[in-house]
Symmetry: C2
Subunit: 204 residues, 2 copies
DNA sequence: TATTTTTGATTGACTGATCAATCAATAAAA
DNA sequence: TTTTATTGATTGATCAGTCAATCAAAAATA
């Protein structure tokens, strides 16, 4: 069976398996055996390729964030105006992929893990900054910089908060409602500022 | 040494110890030994009084939520108008007690745990509902019911989101800024509705 | 009051299970 | 033959949970 060049195949299979196991386990307290079994290989092979459980888990977080980033870039490219780009960022954050119970569980587990693993924390900080900065960049085109900072901060918090609330599955809000709530927030805070911003836009 | 009536003393000591250990450990992956040591008793005693690690952890969540609830009730009593009560709820959510790194870490750990422990999940659902309903009750006095629901949902999400973002300690927002952001949200959404609400209030 | 009995508090030592990590051995391609 | 892929078996550590034994206060008894 041993064909050459299995390494990338196995790595991907193991990372995907880890994601699935973490997802329906709802926690990072998963065993290498479970992950390996899910990937259809022996636990020893997982160690062979990743060196340690922690490394495998870190690769899993990285891969997860990479996918989210790719989606965001694509969605923002497709949008034309700053306001449309803003909506694109929100939509991606609530895209079905990222919003399934398993994925939400995985995110929560990552957040909890970040309290212990410096590397996991770094990844999540990058995510948080990226979300904020994607919002900020487009908001700056719509209102004064200081207001943009505030609104970006608030919108990012709201997005993350809707996530965490979704995880409890109590009175679950639909994806559309979550998006509407966030859009509503931005619109409402933007409304009294739009006149000034319009002036600013013509000036730059 | 064995004086009678130690049970309540030990239970409290162990729950407090658990909270501290979870806090600086940043996770619910703590051992009974650590907790017992922190409480100054033997691991066996912790088992004696709580039966299992899970039970001790559940009591810890319960105690934590109880304290938050008490603070909220007190703060709301002190406030007069609905708008003031609204601010009171927000202030309690961001009160220094609840906003220290250790406490935030504990909350995150609880959220992650809720994916596995049905009882923990139930407690958090109660918290989420209570927050939402405290906001909702007072908002209903300030705007039409449907709008109140939306705004309550959004404000609750924002509060939780600010929490989770705080946990990453990247570009940490101050407590005051977090409060301001939430108040700002409510004010902005309320502004265009206040006229109608005033009419409704006189009608009822 | 003095003595014995009972009861609650407490622990050290132990058990069984779980798991990450290691390693030597095997099998197939190059 | 050399290299890469792969695994079964094993080790060592960590823990939750158990248990029998100890100790001292309180209650009962003489």
């Amino acid at each position: 069976m041993p064909k050459v060049g299995m390494e990338p195949v196995r790595r991907k299979a193991l990372v995907d398996a880890a994601m699935r196991v973490i997802g329906d386990h709802g926690s990072l307290t998963v065993t290498m055996s479970e992950i390996a079994k899910q990937a259809g290989v022996s636990p020893a092979l997982a160690h062979h390729y990743f060196g340690s459980k922690e490394q495998l888990l870190i690769e899993t977080v990285r891969h997860h964030l990479q996918r989210l980033r790719d989606s965001t870039v694509t969605a923002m490219r497709a949008a034309k105006t700053p306001r449309e780009k803003l909506s694109a960022v929100i939509h991606v954050s609530f895209h079905a992929d990222q919003f399934t119970p398993e994925t939400i569980a995985a995110w929560l587990a990552f957040y909890a893990e970040a309290q212990r693993s410096e590397e996991t924390r770094r990844f999540l900080v990058i995510y948080a900054r990226r979300l904020r900065s994607n919002l900020l960049a487009n908001l700056k085109a719509l209102c004064p910089g200081e207001d943009a900072e505030r609104i970006a901060e608030g919108a990012a918090a709201m997005i993350d908060g809707l996530y965490i609330r979704q995880s409890l599955r109590s009175a679950p809000i639909s994806i559309e409602a979550s998006i509407a709530l966030t859009e509503d927030y931005i619109n409402s805070l933007l409304a009294p500022l739009s006149a000034e911003a319009a002036v600013q836009r013509t000036e730059t």
